[in-house]
Symmetry: C2
Subunit: 311 residues, 2 copies
């Protein structure tokens, strides 16, 4: 028998769970069994057997206790709480099991084989409904002393007239540049009855950030203004990270990054103007490459580190 070499990653949270990979109403143990089943299925689909697997990595959304390997609370796993995922999976498979936050897993994945491959240090902004993030320094994802590093959506960027953030705080980056904030800012702009916009019929009827970005591409002035301001806000976020960590690259991923190269160019233009000259010129601002797979790949990367003992 050869030494097992491969690792498998599991990404808990987001739409996959909503779609039924885990049925939360059947109880926590049943749910963890479904997670184990997803791992077995992934191994089979890759044409392997469990003895080929050296370690497992589990990435999860929600509030985690990293040292205990527990999901304390996750919106998508209600009414569960205190789910001992790492221990359960490790015992079922008898394998070393890594456990990490999903945004951090995505940054590790992008750093390993995605946009950041070959870079020494990378910051990932994940632009979804909110804004998440991950920081990779010297091939290691920064967890922080209490598991709270890289809450990049909750860096405060406004003192005097701060917007309310979904997190309950004021003036967070997410309150300006998250997809939810894009919609809110667009609604506010449309509240001016003098403003002409193709988005007006959607204002109180299912308006999404995607509508805004598409209207901007189609030449709608209001949407254009919102998109340009969003790029500015994200550039402020990027520059704040550049002036803190001075990474090789800043990567934008998540749904809103799908707005494409034009949007990224807007962000780049503001970064060049706002940052100190040397990082402004040298820090690469790029799109994420792994899409939804980043979390699973990053979880597998964390498992690989466990298996090979690389520090």
């Amino acid at each position: 028998m050869t030494t097992p070499y491969f690792t498998v990653g599991l990404d808990i949270g987001g739409t996959a769970i909503k779609a039924g990979v885990v049925d939360s109403h059947r109880g926590q143990t049943a749910g963890m069994d479904r997670m184990c089943e997803a791992i077995r299925r992934a191994v089979v689909e890759a044409g392997m057997r469990m003895p080929d697997i050296a370690a497992i990595g589990v990435a999860s959304a929600g509030l985690l206790d990293l040292s205990a390997g527990v999901i304390i609370f996750a919106p998508n796993l209600q009414p569960w709480n205190a789910v001992p995922v790492r221990q359960y999976i490790a015992e079922v498979f008898g394998l070393p099991t890594a456990f990490l936050n999903d945004a951090k897993a995505a940054s590790l994945g992008e750093s390993w084989v995605g946009a950041g491959r070959g870079s020494r240090s990378m910051v990932l902004f994940t632009l979804g409904t909110g804004i998440g993030g991950g920081i990779v320094l010297n091939d290691r994802v920064l967890e922080g002393e209490h598991g709270h590093a890289s809450e990049l959506g909750h860096i405060r960027v406004e003192l005097t007239r701060p917007r309310a953030c979904p997190c309950g705080r004021l003036g967070c980056l997410e309150a300006y540049a998250g997809a939810k904030a894009v919609v809110e800012r667009t609604r506010e702009a449309l509240a001016d009855p003098a403003r002409v916009s193709t988005l007006r019929p959607l204002a109180d009827n299912g308006l999404t950030a995607r509508h805004v970005f598409e209207a901007a591409v189609a030449g709608d002035g209001t949407a254009e203004k919102i998109v340009e301001e969003t790029a500015f806000f994200l550039a402020v976020g990027a520059v704040n990270l550049m002036h803190t960590l001075d990474p090789d690259m800043v990567v934008f991923g998540g749904g809103m990054a799908a707005a494409g190269e034009t949007f990224l160019d807007r962000i780049r233009r503001h970064v060049r103007r706002l940052a100190f000259p040397v990082p402004a010129e040298r820090t690469r601002i790029v799109h994420a490459e792994l899409g939804d797979r980043a979390g699973v790949i990053g979880a597998a990367a964390a498992a690989r580190r466990l298996a090979t003992g690389r520090s």
Copy 2:
């Protein structure tokens, strides 16, 4: 002959150079000779000889090229430029020579034997005329890919009505909470003729941040308001770093930190309110302990790392 064990640190910049340790008008080589003389003197005053010294660490103010070991530009070394300090000192003494930014050296010093000893990760805010900083993760000072990490005074904290920062940018933390900004904000408050304050006679006549802090302690309402707002701004800075790096501790040093425990308590109170619950409760907010010696001690710490080959 025993193996040399000790290291020596040199801190270039600030008042020491102004006082004449280096006479910049005698030319760069003469100036570097004076630096070497300061190193020899420090060794003698410690009761040692140069053969006891294993490595030298040089910390400098100004704009540095870290990889080349060159001071590109330093306000206190005018009209010098492109001073090849590291190579010169390394050749004169025939010893490995480390070269780093003075604020980063201070953070390394505090982390080694000061406020941060025993901690795994630490952020230092240096509150002087401006705001500098240093980040230590796993006993290593974070340099950044282009030597621009930990420009903590130049994290933007205001979007809509940003103050102008001495760096030429808008809305930087330094434009709100540096000592220069404290004086400016006080002058603005005193521009309201209805405002009663003991500081009024100083407004156009040598007002300093120290005056403002002393007047606040003495019960002056205007000064009290400025000091309280300054504590809030610095707490926003601290929380932004906590939500980025989640360090063990945040340390405040530099002249303005001398305002004492009451001021630090104001900062702590805002941090508890502004940060996520876990870091708010667990991250220690403390004063620096090494004062003006932090830079020299940190330079020696960097030298020690060179000498022992610790990665």
